[in-house]
């Protein structure tokens, strides 16, 4: 599989280091953003992730990977949007215990494939399901800062209107030149004419593709595995070269 502009080989080794929680912003009932300031700030590329590690008094540790939501330009604070998972050892710590001023170990930036730089150009197709929108948000924000001329179409599937992470910011971006955004709500009626009220399917993907005047140079798909499979199969059925499709999956 080829990589346009992902610059493999230029990855700087990341190290564990302390960071401080500077801000906590609730995004939806189940998702909250934590803004971590690493002691030694690092520069990331849109779509990369960071690992966080929690340590109990007896030395027991738990670590998880979280996508970075902020644009690279938004550094040095690293925004991680953490979804509360049922029984989540780390996510429930963030939601129930973590407070501004706490120190959390962080390691980043990580991942060198699911990334987009302004220089990679477009058109860009972004398809996210649930918290899979987080790395896509970094790309959208990076585009707004550095490459607002790049055409982008985004399809974002969430259960309900109130579970759309970054909803107000996305609505604000929508309609700006070169950007088209459609929500797919799986458990509620659609609220806008361009939105959908069902699970992702090939006609929906075709409709979103039609918003681009030419085929996407790169398509990024992130979400649960079933969602990512449905989206990428629909893209291939619509004639998109599999080499242009990058996926990031979590769970099943």
């Amino acid at each position: 599989m080829t990589d346009g502009g992902a610059e493999p080989g230029t990855v700087r080794a990341a190290r564990w280091q302390p960071s401080t929680i500077k801000r906590i912003v609730r995004q939806t009932p189940r998702v909250t953003s934590f803004f971590l300031l690493p002691r030694t700030p690092f520069v990331w590329r849109a779509g990369q992730h960071a690992d966080v590690r929690l340590t109990a008094p007896d030395g027991y540790t738990a670590q998880r990977s979280y996508s970075i939501a902020g644009a690279p330009e938004a550094g040095p604070e690293v925004e991680l949007a953490v979804e509360r998972l049922e029984d989540g050892e780390v996510s429930s710590f963030f939601h129930d215990v973590a407070a501004v001023g706490d120190e959390i170990e962080i390691k980043g930036p990580l991942g060198g494939h699911f990334v987009w730089n302004a220089a990679d150009g477009g058109p860009l197709l972004l398809i996210g399901g649930g918290s899979g929108v987080v790395p896509l948000m970094s790309m959208l924000r990076h585009r707004a800062e550095r490459a607002a001329h790049v055409p982008v179409a985004m399809l974002y599937s969430a259960r309900a209107w109130d579970e759309i992470i970054f909803r107000d910011e996305l609505l604000d971006l929508d309609g700006k030149v070169g950007l088209s955004l459609a929500f797919a709500l799986t458990r509620e009626p659609a609220r806008r004419s361009q939105d959908f009220s069902r699970r992702i399917d090939p006609p929906m993907v075709a409709a979103v593709l039609a918003a681009l005047s030419e085929g996407p140079r790169l398509a990024f798909v992130c979400g649960a595995n079933r969602f990512v499979s449905a989206a990428s199969d629909a893209l291939i059925a619509a004639g998109i070269d599999p080499q242009r499709i990058r996926t990031e999956r979590y769970g099943q």
């Binding site: 050892e89 706490d102 494939h113």
Partner: protein, 201 residues
């Protein structure tokens, strides 16, 4: 560095002993891959052994299935921190593939190649001596496309990105050469017990 207010959930001792550092146990089988799942038809499937640039043996699906089939039941460890215990696989040991081709491990390093263009590097010593196979069945069933079917490499003692999905060949080489993830910040070797997740870990 102790995290304020973090108690953590410890697995029972018998689980903890089998979990490499930083890993947690999962009962399901998450799917992670860098691109769409390729649908490889069995009639299009082939497996090629190369020494350097030179192909030395090739099998189609039927011929490959006639090679000696072995079973391995192993714990597997994904770099994204989940581990799964007692996964059972059937396939052809790399030792048996080499024997069938009439060669011995010819070079110190190996690149696994896949139908989607994915590659990963493994020292040849980690593939022989019963340590690795090209698996064609998982838990008694054909491996599903999401999990790498028709065939995937199984190198269970290394992080699971080394167990390349949709494998279509092994290439023996002189120099250790970074594969797909290894070029993108992941460790060249990937030993979970030494927590070699990322470059320079």
């Amino acid at each position: 560095m102790v995290t304020r207010g973090f108690g953590g959930r410890r697995p029972p001792r018998e689980q903890a002993e089998r979990l490499p550092p930083g890993q947690y146990l999962t009962e399901d089988f998450p799917v992670l891959s860098a691109g769409p799942t390729p649908q490889v038809r069995l009639e299009d499937w082939s497996f090629t052994l190369k020494v350097g640039p030179k192909p030395v043996a090739e099998w189609d699906w039927e011929a490959f299935n006639r090679l000696p089939i072995s079973r391995m039941t192993r714990d597997i460890h994904c770099v994204t921190a989940w581990s799964k215990f007692d996964t059972s696989w059937e396939g052809v040991l790399v030792d048996d593939i080499l024997a069938e081709a009439g060669i011995e491990a010819p070079k110190p390093y190996t690149l696994a190649h896949c139908f989607d263009g994915y590659t990963t590097n493994v020292p040849t010593a980690d593939l022989v001596g019963g340590k690795a196979m090209v698996a064609i069945r998982f838990e008694g069933e054909p491996i599903s496309p999401d999990h790498g079917g028709p065939a995937r490499l199984l190198v269970p003692h290394l992080y699971f990105w080394k167990s390349a999905k949709w494998i279509d060949g092994l290439q023996f080489i002189d120099q250790d050469t970074a594969g797909f993830w290894e070029l993108r910040g992941y460790h060249l070797y990937g030993d979970p017990w030494r927590e070699q997740r990322y470059t320079d870990d």
